[in-house]
Symmetry: C2
Subunit: 231 residues, 2 copies
């Protein structure tokens, strides 16, 4: 049995920050298939191995730990692997990333995008997130071509999570690279460097042709549709 | 100058978990008024004292730290005050609470409640959150009348945050006490005990007649309207 099992849908989205940390550390993990994840999620609270609401859910067999919530899992693994500098600012950034994923899917598909709502989000809120992360990166030891957050000489938990969200966004939704480049060139550079780390590059290669490509569901179609109109 | 300044709107919502921790510890803090908070939030990224997107924002003058994101602030203060047991499970619970606040406001008012959507949320998702927290509490050292999460002899970060969200919900939206009692009597008991802690009771007394009463905005009106129909 591998040391870790990640229970998440077969999509990048909230899974990739966790996968990037596991992969970069060289952890031994497997992933439950979608049917298993769905069955576990739908069990009654009393019948679950751990009282979580929704994936991602991590099972750490070595430590006998179950844990849900992407930010909690990322912070847990980061500490376990000795990867976290500045835990509070890292957690703040990871909470931001969680919000960004929620917002780009209009709250997990509670609403669909149309041209006007997408343009407003892209130019205001998404641009603002990028500008704010640009300042966080630039003021904390990162330049476009070198350095990691909070003065680290190697990628830390925050770098890996930022890379997982921002690189995955511009990789899977390539129309958005120009926006990130324009508002956050330092973040773009960091995200590209994280994506090119040997073990992350291997992970990404395995995911290269996977579908759904980003967040799945009707909201993925909606996102693709508004982005296609921008070309 | 007080040691801490909390920048948040004059509503309970995402502020109370932070306020409960500050108050219980006996910290010396003040709060920026709504106009100051709004002005700070609306500054350009380069002009902010710290690149945050939205309140809550904490300024810890003693440590020279600025920090945004409710879960990050709660974990930061909890560690600073020596209140956190089981940081990972605590963070998971605090992320849950953040989700619950998001969901009960239909994503900060992105949608409004109507009778059908409210009934579905109340009976499914909200009931499920309650049941899951009930199991977390019951399996981690809490009973209705005694005990705190993760075996503590005194309230910890997770207890204070759970109390702040669940007690505030049933206090400000009293129609929901019956639901919490039915699905999560242990959580109800814990929340009531947290609310009755001397410094928390003093904090609550100051807030007793404050308006908006819960989350503010059109979504507060919408929530009040669907709850009024249930009486």
């Amino acid at each position: 049995m591998p040391e870790f099992t990640l229970h998440y849908w077969p999509i990048p989205f909230r899974g990739h920050p966790i996968r990037f940390i596991l992969a970069h550390h060289g952890a031994d993990w497997d992933e439950a298939d979608a049917a298993t994840v769905a069955a576990l999620k739908d069990r009654a609270p009393a019948d679950k191995p751990y009282p979580f609401l929704a994936p991602p859910l991590l099972h750490d067999r070595g430590q006998g730990v179950w844990l849900s919530q992407m930010p909690a899992i990322a912070i847990y693994l980061g500490r376990r692997f000795g990867l976290t500098r500045e835990p509070d600012q890292s957690l703040r950034l990871i909470c931001d990333l969680s919000d960004i994923l929620l917002e780009i899917t209009r709250y997990h598909g509670a609403l669909m995008w149309d041209r006007a709502s997408w343009a407003a989000f892209r130019d205001q809120r998404l641009a603002l997130w990028m500008q704010l992360h640009e300042r966080m990166a630039a003021e904390n030891g990162v330049s476009r071509d070198a350095g990691f957050l909070f003065g680290g000489e190697a990628p830390g938990t925050a770098d890996l999570c930022l890379g997982a969200v921002w690189h995955t966004m511009i990789d899977r939704l390539p129309g958005l690279r120009r926006l990130l480049h324009s508002h956050a060139p330092t973040v773009e550079g960091l995200a590209d460097r994280i994506a090119d780390l040997p073990r992350i590059a291997m992970l990404r290669a395995k995911w290269q042709d996977s579908k759904p490509i980003y967040c799945a569901g009707q909201i993925e179609e909606s996102l693709m549709a508004v982005l296609a109109k921008e070309r």
